[in-house]
C-alpha cells in the first residue's frame, strides 16, 4: 500500500505555478479542486497531492516551509488512519487530526471574507477627512524638559525596535535542520529495530524535503509501535505489517 505516491499523480502546470498563501490555502485549493467538503475523508484523499506539491516546489522555494511540513505531518496521520483502520492513535494525535479539519473550516471563512473585502476595495468610494487642525496657528511648543540626551535615548530605542528580517528564514532553517538531525538519529536506531533500509531512500531522494516528507510518513507509523514497514525498493509500495 503506497502512502506516498510520487508518480501516480501529476498535477497540472497551472496548479503548480500558482502561489499559495500557506499550507491551509494549498489544502483548501486541493479540496475545492476535487469539489469536496472539508472532512477527514477528503483530507486523506488530497494528502498525496499536498505532499506532491511540496516536493515539486522543491521546498526551498516555499515560504514558511516549516508550516507546510507541519500540516504534512498531520495529513500523513489522517491518511494512515484512513488506510489502516487497525492503527490506534493517541488522544493528542486524534485531536491534532480533528483540529486540522476545524482549522481549515475557520480559515475558509476568512479566505472568503478576504475575497469579499477585495471586491469592496475595488468598487467602494472613499470617505475623505480633513487635515488635522487646518487653519490653526503654529505655536512653538517644545516638550517640557527635553534634552539632547532624551532624543538620543528615543533614537536608540527606535534602532532597537527595527526588525531584523533575516531572523525569520534562519529560525525556519533551524527548525528544518533540527528535524533532519532528529530523523538521522531516529534512522540509526530504527535500522536496528525495523528491517527496512532507510539509507536507500536517502540516497535516491531528490532533495531534502523529499527525505523529510518520506520519513515523516514512515516515522508517524512506526511511532505507533503497532506497525513495521518494509520497502523493497524506492518508490515501490511500502509494505506495512502489524507488529
Amino acid at each position: 500500500m503506497a502512502l506516498l505516491t510520487t508518480s501516480s499523480f501529476v498535477m497540472s502546470y497551472h496548479f503548480r505555478s500558482e502561489q499559495f498563501e500557506g499550507p491551509l490555502d494549498l489544502l483548501l485549493a486541493l479540496i475545492e479542486k476535487e469539489k469536496l467538503d472539508i472532512t477527514q475523508v477528503s483530507l486523506a484523499q488530497v494528502a498525496d497531492q499536498y505532499l506532491e506539491y511540496i516536493k515539486q516546489e522543491n521546498g526551498a522555494s516555499l515560504e514558511n516551509l516549516a508550516s507546510f511540513l507541519s500540516v504534512a505531518a498531520r495529513l500523513i496521520l489522517i491518511k494512515s488512519r484512513a488506510l489502516l483502520p487497525i492503527l490506534t492513535f493517541s488522544d493528542d494525535e486524534e485531536e491534532s487530526m480533528d483540529n486540522l479539519e476545524q482549522h481549515l473550516r475557520a480559515y475558509k471563512l476568512f479566505r472568503e471574507a478576504a475575497q469579499k473585502l477585495g471586491l469592496l476595495f475595488e468598487k467602494s468610494k472613499a470617505a475623505v477627512a480633513r487635515e488635522s487642525f487646518l487653519g490653526t496657528q503654529v505655536v512653538f511648543y517644545p516638550p517640557k524638559g527635553i534634552t539632547k540626551e532624551t532624543l538620543r535615548e528615543h533614537f536608540a530605542n527606535v534602532l532597537g525596535e527595527i526588525p531584523v528580517f533575516e531572523i525569520l528564514p534562519e529560525k525556519e532553517l533551524v527548525a528544518i535542520i533540527t528535524l533532519e538531525e532528529k530523523i538521522t538519529t531516529l534512522q540509526h536506531t530504527l535500522r536496528e529495530r525495523a528491517e527496512s533500509s532507510f539509507a536507500e531512500i536517502i540516497s535516491t531522494a531528490q532533495d531534502r524535503v523529499e527525505v523529510i516528507v518520506s520519513f515523516l510518513a514512515l516515522l508517524e507509523l512506526i511511532k505507533q509501535r503497532f506497525i513495521h514497514v518494509e520497502q523493497k525498493k524506492f518508490f515501490s509500495n511500502i509494505l506495512i505489517k502489524r507488529l
Binding site: V71, F121, K125, V128, A129, K182
Partner: protein
Amino acid sequence: MASSLLSALESLLFISGEPVSFGRLGKTLAVSEKEIHEAVAALSAKYAADEMAGLMILEDSKTVLLATKPANAPVVESLTKSALQENMSKAALEVLAIIAYRAPITRTEIDAIRGVNCSFTLRNLLLRDLITREGNPSDSRGYIYRPTMKFLQVLGMANVASLPDYETLSQDERLRMILQEELPASEEELKDTI
C-alpha cells in the same frame, strides 16, 4: 438632547480632522462619555437622513472621525487631485479581513488562523495605515492589532459592523478553539511530530 451640544460636537470634529477619542470629546464639552456617544449617534443619524448633507461620521470603539460622504468621492478627489486607492494582495486582504473581523487580535492569533507567519504583511499594512498596533496588556513583548479609520475611509464605511457577515464572523465560536491551539508553524509542534 441640547442642540448646542450637537453644534459644538460638529465644530470639534470639523476642526480636529483626525480621529478624536470619545473621552477627549467628553472632557472638552464637559459631558459624560455616554452623552457623547448619544450625541455622536444623533449627528450620524442627522447626516444619514439629510440628502443635502455632504458629511458622515466614521467611528470605532474609541474614536470618531468626520469625513465626506463616499458618493462625493469623485468630486473630492478631483479637487484634491489625490485618490485613496489601495492595491491589495491576497495575503494583505486575508490579514486585513482577520483583523477587521476579530480585533483586537494578537499576531500569534493571526498567524494561527492563516497557518503561516504574517509579519511581513502586518508591517506592510501598518505602513499603509490600514491597521494599527498597540502594546498587549497581557504580553509585554507582543502587540495587538486593530483596523484604522483609514481602513474605514478607504471603504467609505461608517464602522466595521457594516462589513459583510460581520455578526457571524466576529462571533464565530470555532475560532476560539483554533486560537487556543498551538501555532501550526511553531518549532515545538514540529518537534512533536517527529
